[in-house]
Structure formats: C-alpha cells, structure tokens
Point group: C2
Amino acid sequence: MKESKTGIFSEDEKESFYKVIFSRRDVRKNFVTKTISDKVLHKILLAAHHAPSVGYSQPWNFILIRNNDTRNLVKESFLKERLKAIDLIPNKAKRRDKYLNLKLEGILESDLNICITYDHSRFGPFVIGRMTIKEAGIYSVCCAVQNLWLAARVENIGVGWVSIIDNIDLGKILNLPSNVQPIAYLCLGYVKEFENRPDLESKKWLERMPLHAVINFEKWDNESETESSWNSLRNELKKQT
Amino acid sequence: MKESKTGIFSEDEKESFYKVIFSRRDVRKNFVTKTISDKVLHKILLAAHHAPSVGYSQPWNFILIRNNDTRNLVKESFLKERLKAIDLIPNKAKRRDKYLNLKLEGILESDLNICITYDHSRFGPFVIGRMTIKEAGIYSVCCAVQNLWLAARVENIGVGWVSIIDNIDLGKILNLPSNVQPIAYLCLGYVKEFENRPDLESKKWLERMPLHAVINFEKWDNESETESSWNSLRNELKKQT
C-alpha cells in the first residue's frame, strides 16, 4: 500500500473513486460509539501524508486527541466563538433562528479529534515555490486535510471540520510552538449513516451552485464569440448542473 | 453521477481509492499531444465542485485556459519569479545547480491550464465558520484543488501546480476583479507515464518523511507515559514508515 502503483484506472475503479467524492459529507451528528482501530487510523493518516506539498516540504502534523479534558477546552472555545458569531448575523430573525438550530461540531461525541497544523520552519527557509507564494505551505496542509477526509469516507468514517474555534486558544490548549499554526480541527467517528446532501443544503441555508456558474473561459469574464472553441463544453455544462 | 450515494465501501473499492491517492503526482513533464474531452473535463470539474466549503460558500471559480497568448504571459511571470527565487537559495553551488535543473512547470506543453480562484464576496459577508477563521474560504478552495487533482489522476491525466507565479501578474492577465484572488495555477494533460515517486524525491532534493515523524499524541510534544493508550499505534507507525 505504501508506494504508488502507476497505471491506468478501469471504469469500475473510476466509479468507486467518484462515489467517494460525491458521498463525502461534513459530519457533525449521528456519531456512534465505536473506536477507530489503529490499522484504519494508520491508513487514513498515510493517505493524508501522501498529499502534494509545495517544494515537497510536507509541512503538516497530525495531533491525535482523545483526552476529554482537552476536548472540553476546545468545546469551550467553540461556544465562545459561536456566541460572537451570532452578533454578526445580519439582523433577520429567521436567519438567526436557523443558525442557532444548526449542529456545527461533534467535538465531544466523536471518537477522535485531529488537529492538523502547518509548520513554516520545516525544510526552510528556502522552500521551492514558497518564495513566491508565501501561503503555499498552508495550501499543502489543506490538500492533506482533503486526502484524510476522503480516506475516512472510504473507511466509512465521518469527518467534520470545526472552523468556529479561536486558533490562539487552540495553540495554548495543544502547546503549539510559535512556528506551528493550526489549520484544521477535525472530529472523526463512525456514524449511523451518511446524509445524502450537505446539512446546510437540506436545512435550506444555501443551495449548491450549478457547476456552470463557477466555470470561466480563458479569462474571468469572457463570453465573447472569439472563444467559440468552448461552446460545446459551455452548452454541456448548462444542460447538466 | 451527480448526487451522492450513501453506503459502505467494499475492499476492492477501498483499494481503488488508495491507488489514486498513492499514484497521484505533481506532473511537469511527459505531457503528450491529446486533448482532454468535454466529457472528462466535466467530470473532473464536478468532482472539484463537490469539495467541502466553509459555511457551504463554494467560493471557487475555475478559469479554463487554452489560449497561447495568455499562457505565454503566465510563462513570462514564471520565468521572472524563478530568477528571483534563485537569489534566495542558500549559497551552496550544488543545491543551486540542482534547483536550476528541476523542471517546475508545464504551462505551454500541457493541454489545458486551470486557474482556481477564491471569491471572498460570495454569499457573504456572513459565512458560517468564516467569521472566526478568516482564511477558511481559501482552505475550501484548496480542498477543491485536491479533489480536482485526484479526479484527474483517476482519468489518467497529469496535473502540476505552478506556485512560482506572481499573483498580481495573474490577476492582470486573467482580468480578475478585486474580490477574487488566484489560489492555484494548474497545468493538465495526458502523460506518457506517471512517475513512481515525486520528482523532488527522485532528484534527491528532499525525502519523504516517515509518517511517525508527523504524528503527535494529545498535544504537540507529549511522549509521557500517561498517554500509554497510544502506544500500540505509536509502535505500529514506527515499524512501518
């Protein structure tokens, strides 16, 4: 499993892959009491570690957290930040009520929390590609998050990304050194079921945009006739959303 | 294909998935002259669009670029930034020579370039989760990049992320409005073959770290006996790198 196999993918393999992509969910509920085994955890972490990284800098760490005292502190930070966010919602009573009813984290109910961090000092200061785009190392960490998320889904484990947390709190709670910054705080666990649609879609918070609305041809805003080579794709995208 | 199917993954499906993860490469060479069809491009873009996003904000756009004038301008920006970076390499002649011999982009040789951007204004200003972590929308875009990269691999298409580009140049070249920022500039194309290992590893620029070196238990630096519940995983990780 460790090293890549080159090669072509069959139609069945393609289908399996897209099934992972389309059935992955941001999970905050339905967690069941079942421990993720070392073997499965190892596989998920290895998938994350095989993400791309700028200049091969591999700037990530994975802090595995099961301790309840730690989780309670993180939950406190979540509750504090959630309260602050409520004040920022445009003052529409219905929207605010909807927000208050959303389940936005599973810090205590999940089997495992993982904080994924970015270490700016790793293999530095000269990291290929990062001299031009300073944030590129953080982008690499996000790619690792997505690998982990998809691997968890294929192992039938739900993952929720909690972004309502104060990173300064998190740094203190986890004893992070100054060169290390938290990027993602994830809650992992087996679940009763995976939802068919994202929660924020089924709760009618927002809808999925049609794909054609996020595709641009050649430049940001180019609907000119000169780019007619894109017409067949443009028409296909507009037929299917 | 469009919506998720819930469900459990078989052992074969898991294996297919990990094959994608481990055989994905950052590709800058070996491109062949073959056009990516609308159908395949549609599948790859749909996979990217099904990435997670903070508060379901879907803040990404995909600018598809085949125009050679545009690519030449991007290449110019790359060459300018590459020159600047050379000056920053610690003054070791061997390291510098190695850097100069690395192939770091395939802007002109690939079939297609895609610039993936972040739109901070989409569905804002109140975006769930982004009020606390301001950069969370950018993290979502990176997750979309990784979905796209993996989908391309399963379609046997190579992807290279060029991070030696000045984003100010890119904004001008692609007519980006001020609320939109480029996150990733990707070169896509069919390739003669996928390498077994990352280029920067086979060229001995850097090695892949052992997995256990990037795993932390409970806190950043906690090797204490009190966390003995992690010993079996710790031992497993140290056996296998």
